[in-house]
């Protein structure tokens, strides 16, 4: 289990992580979403011991990462957002090298290399120079490298970035297999729908702060709730409707197009019901009341957008 408590990190005047808290349970395939510069890579680098936080701590299975870095390095695998490959080595030599970095040699290393290449569907490229591999293949090789010591936890920093659809699909399948093997996987991306397809839970980071976390079902529910409510009423009662809606604390914005009102509503399903009941009690003739189908993108944009507006207001 990974627990991140009150993490702070500053680069000069830029606050990259600001009281960041996160908990990822064992066996989860956790999607870590945020726009560029939100703090995803910084968090990951601190988690794998490549960066020192200014404050806070990272606990892996209850042990502090910073104090037990060498010991925990064996539990954690990291695939950064760049390849980091030695071009003059073959795929097999490359994995052998990293196997030996974990004290695995000889026939054990041979067997492990074969297994890993098979896992990432690169067995046929075993003796090919890394330089001769495609982008997708390199990414899969890097994933194999991250798995060389059979870690319990895998940190993948934007692994699908720059890959074509076929390579993305292959990567997703591999990650699903790894997840089925019981690995805890934390995968970052700036595209929420991409992660929603394979993750069991998702966290959204913005300006170094975790703004939303939940299971993928909850995220989908939230996405559905993120689109505006549509209300069709009698045109003559529009003013009365406006008056009722204004008094509702969950109504953020109302726009009218003829007799159709679009309501940005932040309450729950029950709150929606209560609002509808109040309209009916006031004898408003409601001919239609529905929510447009929400998307994960709209949810992400709503969260990130809200934060940006709030920050702007404070300034």
């Amino acid at each position: 289990m990974i627990e991140i408590k009150h993490l702070y990190k500053r680069y000069g005047r830029f606050l990259a992580l600001n009281d960041f808290n996160l908990k990822v349970n064992e066996g989860e395939l956790f999607g870590f979403v945020g726009s560029n510069g939100a703090g995803k890579t910084t968090t990951m680098r601190i988690c794998v011991g490549l960066l020192k936080a200014d404050g806070g701590e990272v606990l892996i299975d209850g042990e502090k990462m910073l104090r037990n870095h060498r010991k925990l390095a064996e539990k954690v695998g990291y695939v950064p957002d760049y390849f980091g490959v030695y071009k003059s080595l073959t795929a097999s030599e490359y994995l052998h090298f990293f196997a030996s970095a974990y004290g695995i040699y000889g026939s054990d290393a041979d067997r492990l290399t074969d297994e890993l290449l098979d896992l990432v569907n690169l067995s046929h490229k075993k003796d090919t120079d890394v330089n001769g591999l495609s982008r997708g293949m390199k990414q899969r090789l890097c994933l194999a490298r991250g798995m060389v010591h059979n870690p319990d936890i895998l940190f993948l920093d934007e692994p699908a970035s720059g890959l074509d659809p076929k390579a993305r699909f292959e990567l997703k399948e591999i990650l699903k297999n790894l997840s089925a093997m019981g690995k805890t996987i934390i995968i970052s991306s700036h595209i929420l729908p991409e992660l929603a397809e394979m993750c069991t839970s998702v966290g959204i980071i913005d300006k170094g702060h975790l703004v939303l976390q939940g299971s993928i079902e909850e995220i989908h529910r939230a996405a559905a709730m993120s689109s505006p409510l549509n209300l069709v009423v009698n045109e003559e009662q529009i003013d009365d409707v406006f008056a009722i809606l204004q008094s509702n604390p969950f109504v953020q914005k109302v726009t009218a197009r003829g007799n159709i009102l679009q309501i940005v509503f932040t309450g729950s399903k029950d709150d929606e019901g209560r609002m509808l009941a109040s309209l009916i009690r006031a004898n408003i003739l409601v001919s239609s009341f529905y929510r447009e189908e929400g998307s994960l993108e709209s949810l992400f944009m709503q969260i990130v957008g809200n934060n940006t507006k709030e920050a702007a207001k404070r300034r």
Binding site: K52, V85, L89, G208, V211, M225, R314
Partner: protein, 351 residues
């Protein structure tokens, strides 16, 4: 994955060293550099050889000619190594940074010290191979004798310590900087300053003391160098020269082959005792100048490598208490607002 791999064994060999050697063997670099060094040294050898053959035919060949051949070869080789070594070592770690492979290495079980050892080891083996590859050219002296095989090996050992010492500067700046070009420049610059400083420092200090002595006792000859035993004793300052590789090579050659020019014979640093009134040729430090110098250089090398490992450690420094740091960092910088949003565990909608 097999369960066997889960029980990790302790690292038996240095993975970086092994990988570097594998990569070096694949590239023609190692052979090209060895070839260039030998191509540069070979004409000197051929010239001496022809000269000796002609002199021998005239019946006037002295074995001292071959001694001077060896002396010049060692100096030329040392000069070449002085320029080649930084070029090879100064990119060692910085290239890993540029290739972005260092981060991945640092997340493995390998410690920064193991990475530095691997990098240094591979460069050292490569450069030692260069030195060994020139041995056949140096061995020409065996045609006429006058020098033993052990003495030749001793000179080889001195050259190996010499490259080992210079390599450390390259590795150090390579670990310190992110850019190979900057690392190369800093390495050459620092080496130049180090060589000049440690070479000149004892001379300048002895000169100053000689000047003071002259001012006190010889009013008419302010810059008189040789003083008598009654004067201020600053002779021990010559020991500072043990830190200089040029003095080390000078002494190593002097104590094995000797610099004989007609009637004058210079036997390394012990001959310097003639210029120092408080010292004799029996001075143990002057006698053991080269071994002492070699030990000092090995120790400096180890220190620099250790320091390089510290620079390479991404989480160096103590783990400070969480609360203290949080309090400090929590204060927003002027013009920057602390985010006041809270993470929402969603079960009833977006916040």
């Amino acid at each position: 994955m097999s369960e066997q791999t889960k029980k990790l064994k302790k690292n038996k060999r240095n993975a970086v060293l092994y990988k570097e050697m594998t990569m070096d063997m694949k590239r023609p670099k190692i052979l090209i550099i060895a070839l260039l060094i030998n191509l540069f040294l070979a004409p000197i050898g051929i010239c001496f050889f022809i000269g000796i053959v002609i002199a021998a035919m005239n019946g006037s060949c002295s074995y001292r000619v071959l001694a001077w051949y060896l002396i010049s070869m060692v100096y030329v080789e040392a000069t070449m190594l002085l320029f080649i070594t930084p070029a090879i070592t100064a990119g060692s770690v910085s290239l890993e940074k540029e290739r972005q492979t260092l981060d991945v290495l640092l997340t493995t079980r390998m410690t920064p010290w193991e990475i530095i050892k691997g990098k240094y080891g591979s460069d050292f083996i490569l450069l030692s191979f260069m030195v060994v590859s020139t041995f056949p050219l140096l061995a020409i002296v065996f045609i006429y004798g006058g020098i033993s095989f052990i003495q030749l090996l001793y000179l080889g050992l001195v050259l190996i310590v010499f490259i080992g010492f210079i390599s450390c500067f390259g590795i150090f700046f390579s670990a310190l900087t992110k850019n190979t070009i900057l690392s190369v420049i800093l390495t050459y610059l620092t080496l130049m300053i180090y060589f000049a400083f440690t070479f000149m420092l004892p001379i300048i200090l002895l000169w100053i003391i000689a000047g003071i002595n002259s001012a006190l006792y010889y009013d008419n000859d302010l810059f008189y160098w040789v003083t008598t035993q009654d004067f201020i004793n600053g002779d021990f300052l010559i020991y500072l020269g043990t830190f200089n590789p040029i003095y080390m090579i000078f002494d190593a050659i002097g104590s094995t082959i000797g610099y004989d020019i007609e009637d004058v014979s210079v036997k390394g640093m012990t001959s310097v005792a003639e210029l120092l009134p408080h010292m004799t040729e029996k001075n143990i430090i002057l006698k053991l100048w080269t071994p002492i110098s070699m030990i000092e250089m090995v120790l400096i090398s180890l220190g620099m490598l250790r320091l390089s490992a510290v620079f390479l450690n991404p989480v160096k420094g103590k783990d400070r208490t969480v609360k203290k740091r949080v309090k400090k960092t929590n204060t927003p910088v002027k013009g920057e607002n602390k985010a006041n949003t809270q993470a929402v565990n969603i079960d009833n909608g977006v916040q």
